[in-house]
Chain length 346, copies 3
């Protein structure tokens, strides 16, 4: 959809400071690849080098960058968010369909709203409820008794197990699995007994779940994702985890059972969270960190080890193994020096 710069600025919390408010914007693009009719943005300072040569018709940026911009300028205190709003306005929304594809398999005793779409080869089991506006792409499985809230979108081959509750406007990417049994094992005489997993999963409104991410059902109580949570691809959420509202978690994170994560947290890719602990609100965990204890106050926490050249790393690691001995040698040196001093003073 085309909008004028003037219309756009008003809808994206921006201030058109430079340029013709009637200039028509038809598309979005990067600073490097934009053409006439495109709007672009500058949020990450690393890309400022592309600003001067951009061929965009307009750029969304911070006040401080406005003077350097050769094109029309929409100033925003949050250019990335303003760009997100602009892109959502300009780019056509995903198609919304209604009805049930003839190859879909619906149990006689499920309830699919007439304003929902159930795509080819989907399966909707007994007692499941699919609300208005829901879009199930091909090959999705909605297990017995599960509820999919209004306007939620499940991409291809998503699996929702039985008795799971999904909020409204939830997007789930292909291959994600919600509500599989938790990893509940009791050891008896060296063999594992399965502990029945009797809880469920409750997903709040406006949650996003990435491709091939897995969220297990609770053992007795439920696994819970509050509203606005964002999960990237290939995240593992174990049974009875609780994730607070508006927390964002990057790819390949693993969260062990019964961990409770606060609201507005950000967790970097590849991190691991041990079970049965609590993480406060507004905690930031950087990439590949292992959280082994509760974190009681907001802040940034880390343990990921950055790469070195292999030769240097081998030396580092060899010394790490000697660390306890090295520390004792320092203590011995200190004691010897203290003794020397004492001797000198006597």
């Amino acid at each position: 959809m085309s909008l004028t710069l003037g219309e756009l600025a008003g809808q994206i919390r921006g201030d058109l400071q430079q340029g013709d408010p009637d200039c028509l914007i038809c598309a979005v693009a990067t600073l490097q690849n934009a053409q006439s009719g495109d709007i672009s943005f500058l949020a990450n300072p690393g890309y400022k080098k592309y600003l001067l040569a951009t061929r965009a018709s307009a750029v969304i940026l911070r006040q401080a960058d406005a003077a350097d911009c050769p094109t029309a300028v929409i100033v925003s205190s949050n250019p990335y968010a303003s760009y997100a709003r602009a892109a959502a306005l300009i780019v056509p929304a995903a198609r919304t369909r209604q009805g049930v594809h003839p190859t879909a398999v619906l149990d006689a005793d499920c309830a699919v709203d007439e304003k929902a779409w159930v795509g080819p080869n989907c399966i909707v089991e007994k007692g499941a409820v699919v609300h208005a506006g829901v879009q199930l792409a091909g090959g999705c499985f909605v297990g017995a008794g599960s509820v999919i809230g209004a306007d939620s979108r499940l991409s291809a081959n998503v699996v929702i197990c039985h008795d799971v509750s999904i909020g409204a406007r939830v997007n789930i990417a292909p291959g994600a699995v919600i509500g599989s049994d938790g990893f509940g094992l009791a050891n008896e005489d060296g063999r594992w007994l399965n502990v029945p997993q009797l809880g469920s999963v409750r997903i709040g409104d406006d949650v996003e779940i990435g491709s091939n991410t897995t969220i297990d059902r609770g053992a007795l109580d439920d696994t819970v994702l509050e509203e606005g949570v964002r999960l990237d691809n290939q995240i593992q959420v174990a049974h009875n985890v609780h994730i607070g509202a508006h927390t964002a978690i990057a790819g390949c994170v693993g969260i062990s059972g019964s961990a409770k994560i606060g609201k507005h947290c950000m967790i970097g890719g590849g991190s691991g969270i041990v079970g049965h602990l609590e993480i406060a609100d507004r905690v930031v965990i950087t990439g590949m960190t292992m959280v082994t204890k509760s974190i009681t106050s907001a802040g940034v926490y880390s343990s990921g080890v950055p790469a070195q050249e292999n030769d240097a790393w081998n030396k580092t690691y060899a010394r790490m193994r000697q660390l306890d001995k090295l520390a004792r040698r320092i203590g011995k040196l200190e004691r010897a020096q203290a003794a020397d001093k004492k001797n000198d003073n006597e």
Copy 2:
């Protein structure tokens, strides 16, 4: 199913020490959420704080906790296992169906037992054998020549590639892939040649495999999981790995090719096992550990680095990079001190 406390105690290796043996138990619940008619359990000492106020009708616990329990008490030396048995008795088992859904696609030359269930949109290829009691939920793929042992359950969208052998009573969670080609590559003049992956996968009886876990077929010999193995979600098992009986592996673990893991091991989440090594029986690997060499005796092994506040971690990491130099400085100090001492003595 409802049972009396007296009946239950006898079937879960427990001793009813307190309470009415005729009290009817209808459900299981946590100490915090239990109501009258529920049985609960206390295994993890962290939850003892909930014992006094519980409204459960009975609690399964250790002898040492019995005196503090306000309700009926079943004492067990292994309360979690006794609870698992109780829950399995009280909670109705998953439904078992028979027959073939009309949308399933069966090759004319496959063998599906009449007491098995093949769900909607499943595909069973040529030469595959599905034994009695097997339950294939929707969208499963059973490749040519594969065998699914009696009473095994495949959840939605499970993929079993060709010529794979699955034992009896195996549970496989949604999205798991068994028998895909191993990552076999030979480099020739800078390009990769695929090495044909000609082995298969053999899964023993009573194995559990988590959601989106992947197990590759062997290159020449087979990838093997012995009986009773438990794999959590999103585990990667490379070609020719061998996992011993009753070993349990938590989520997001990666096991490289030809690693041989013993029996009764426990491997923590996010760990990585290098290829072509052996791990003895009864080895415990804690979370996010990297195993680079064979482990020849039972014990606990670790290398996961717990999180610090980011400022502190940055200092830690900066010093790690200096470790070799720091160690040399300690050596120099020691030599200087030894020389001083020698001088003093002369």
Copy 3:
């Protein structure tokens, strides 16, 4: 297919130095399990112990190992590559079918070549193009506008989202997802706005993609895998990543957004690559390494921490947390010693 040793040697860049060129080879096997009629190989020196007792009819090996071989010998400077070629010649290639299974769901406006195979329960959406020789196993999803190049093979339950471009002779293992939305989020007043993901994914010729691997579409420009790239299972490739030709990446690696990886790289399992950085050609990253900065020259880079016994590791880790203090104590000792020396000299 059976070949004589003489025929084989000529086709695998080998030199038949010992044995009857008319000896018929029918199968491939490991040194340990080979029987008469089999050919085996010795590439990894760890397996040389099996050479003397092998019952294979012939072995592919390096010149240096030839004298120790009790059987016919094909000498190769690259025995593993020669073996890969031999196996590809001897073992029948995967079956190639043509046509569309009656349960497949094809949009009226898609183009499937008559020499392609679309398996049971596959879905091909509007505007998609499936070229000659393509093999879609069961349950695959090809989104609107996507193109699958000639002779590519998609295993069961692969998802290709909309407008993705797949080259020729690409193999994609079960459960892989190509072209899901990138994890693009803008924070506004504590809530996350989705940034529309408007780029796509372009996969070059002769690429291999492992089971349950996920590759996100670009935000504005495309995510790109150049020709010959090899991805193992459960790899996460974020939006706008660029992977150079003939790079091989082992399982469970996560690559963050806009990372640019060179050609002919090798990345070990479980590693993580931070976003917005560049890795030069011919870089080797060992397992479980975290790359946080650009790497500008070929070489080997590491940060994975090998396991210790837990007691030793606990000491190591406790000392790591003291490292900054230990370093300061070394500095203090040095200053004290320097002062002593000065005093001695005065």
